[in-house]
Structures are given as C-alpha cells and as structure tokens.
C-alpha cells in the first residue's frame, strides 16, 4: 500500500474526519498565537464597548436623555438609521425609577417590561440578532423532530 492509499483509507472513515479537522483548528490556533504581535488593535471602533461600573445602566450605558438628547451611537451607514440614538436613550417610567434607585438595571434587561433597547443590538445590527434567533429556532426544530421520532 502506498501512502495515498493509506491516506484515502484513513479519510474514508467518517469518525476520523473530526480528528483531522480538530488538528487543523489547533494548528491554525497556534499560528494565530504566534502572529499576535503582528496584529494591532484599532482604537477607532465602530461599535465601542466600555463598562462604567458606577452607572445603573451598565453595561448598556450609551448616554442620552429620553425625548431630549439622543445617545451617542455611530452607524456605518447613518442614512439607513434615521432614528439613531433615540431608542437607546428611552426608558419607561418604571425603568427610570429603577435606574434612579438601584445600580442594577442593566443586568435586568430581559427581566422587566421596558428597559433598555440597545440600538446596536436591535437597530443598526438588528439583522444579526434575527439570524442568531433563527439558528436557535432551527436547532430546536431538529432536536424536537429527532426526539419525537425516537418516541415512536
């Protein structure tokens, strides 16, 4: 058997392919670690992230006053986002009360009605959130189909 036959025999087993792929991932990861000095961080980020632990809206604090002053949000294509900054700045009266009295409104973003609608998540990059939810939906559809089939 020459080497090509041996390789072909090895790749023909489907169980071996994840091993080969994992090896390739490790290899590229090592190359990446070696190349870290060559990569520089660009300070002019379009979607900056800074956490101010003193703010009650942390980590979603992007500034702004409801109905008076829009938050500072930069969009790649501002012509596609005419209401930029106004949605993030808005808080419902209940959320405003919580923000005034506690430090933890930002952590309850999904646990109470109203709250902060982060514009980078839901407006300028809103389509990403839709696709993420679709990935979850499809994964659950497959899991439920296989589960129901295994029951019959």
């Amino acid at each position: 058997m020459n080497i090509i036959q041996k390789l072909a025999g090895y790749f023909a087993e489907t169980d071996n392919l994840p091993k080969v792929y994992a090896l390739a991932v490790c290899l590229v990861a090592v190359i990446g670690i070696c190349m870290i000095p060559a990569i520089s961080y660009d300070a002019d980020q379009l979607y900056p992230k800074s956490v101010d632990m003193e703010s009650p809206l942390s980590p979603y604090d992007r500034g702004g006053v409801p109905f008076e002053e829009p938050a500072e949000i930069v969009a790649q294509y501002p012509e596609n986002a005419p209401a930029l900054g106004w949605v993030t700045a808005y808080l419902t009266p209940a959320s405003q009360w919580m923000a005034d009295n506690t430090l933890y409104l930002g952590t309850t973003i999904a646990a109470h009605p109203g709250g902060i609608l982060d514009e980078i998540l839901y407006y300028t990059r809103g389509f990403d959130t839709i696709v993420e939810a679709s990935i979850l939906l499809c994964a659950f559809a497959i899991a439920s189909f296989l589960y129901r089939r295994s029951r019959t």
Binding site: V25, D42, L46, R125, G126, S134, I135
Partner: protein
Amino acid sequence: MMEAILVQIPFGDMVHYLSGYTVLLFAVAALFVVLAIVSLPEKPVDIVFGTDGYTLKEIPKDTMKFQRFMSIACGVATVGAIISGDLFNFTLFAALIGILNIGIVAGVKNRHVLDSAFSYGLVVMMGTVPLFAGAAIAVAATGTLSIWELAGVGAVPLISKLLLLLGVLGEGMAPFYIGKAEITRAPGAPYILMIHVSSLLLFLRVVEILLTV
C-alpha cells in the same frame, strides 16, 4: 429590481453586497430554493434479486415535510450568506447553513447516515469557533465589519482570513459525509442536493470575501 427592494428594507448597517459575481451565485441559490419547493421526494426502487419483482420504498410524510423545510431554509440561508455585505452577518449565515445541513442529514432514518451526521455535527460545532474568531479579529484590527469599507484596503490580518477559511471549511464539510453515507441514494433524495449547493456557494462566496478584504 432586486437592488431597489434590498435598499428599501431598512437593515441598518446590514447592507447588501451585489456584484456581478454574487448576483450569479444568488440566481443559482434562488433556483435551487424554487426546486426544493416544487419537487417531490424520490422513491428508491429495490430490485428483488433473480426475479422481475421490485419494491418501492415509501417516504414517510413527516420526514418529507421536515427535510423539505430544512432544505428550503438552507437555501434561504445560502441566499443570505451570498448577498450579505457584512462580515459578521456572513459568519452567522454560515453557522445557520451548518446547522440546517445537519438537519437535512439527520432526517434520514438510517444507522450509517445518522453516524456520519453525528461526526459532521462535531465538525460544525468546532467550525463555529474559528469562524467567529476570524470575524472578531477582523473587527478588532480594523474597527468595522462592512465588506464595502474593508474592500481593497487589505487591513484584515492574515490570521483572520485563515480562521474564516477554516471555519467555512468546517461548516461546508457535509458533502464529504454525503459521499460516504451514499445519502444521495437514500430516501429523500432531491432535498439532499441543497447540502451540496449551499456548501459550494459558501466556498465560492468566502473566496470572494477573502480576495476582497
């Protein structure tokens, strides 16, 4: 006409990336979505050895419905990956294609097919790591994700491109398993084609992105 529609839908920073090349890929993907919608499942014929008799395998209706849904969704995800003008959006669509390919393969009730679907699932789960790592390094090094902005600048580091390529390689590895599992002759044949189409178009698109940015 398509450009007018795409401009009208307000996706914020998610803009389309239509060039002569991607329009061609879009047309192929759309054609296969239509084929998946209109086609009926194939019924494999088994000849009884030594006689003139033959048996026709019936496809259970729920399996057929599930595979049809998965292949249509896979085609739509392929269209999304092709016309997306945003690097992170592209990686998300690639991950969606990987999940849906598992769904199409897993719909067939056959031990060998399910074995290879399991192995493929492992590869897809591993593939998401380099895929999103590539997009993350690209945004850290350039500050933006729009392919229009990155086009021709060459600011995306080489390692980011390598990781993206490796990730797409993992997501699009399904055809290798298809050949092994002989799934093209397994029940539900026409829907399986979507796996090949989506992987092929994903490769063509990622090559275009890597040459552009």
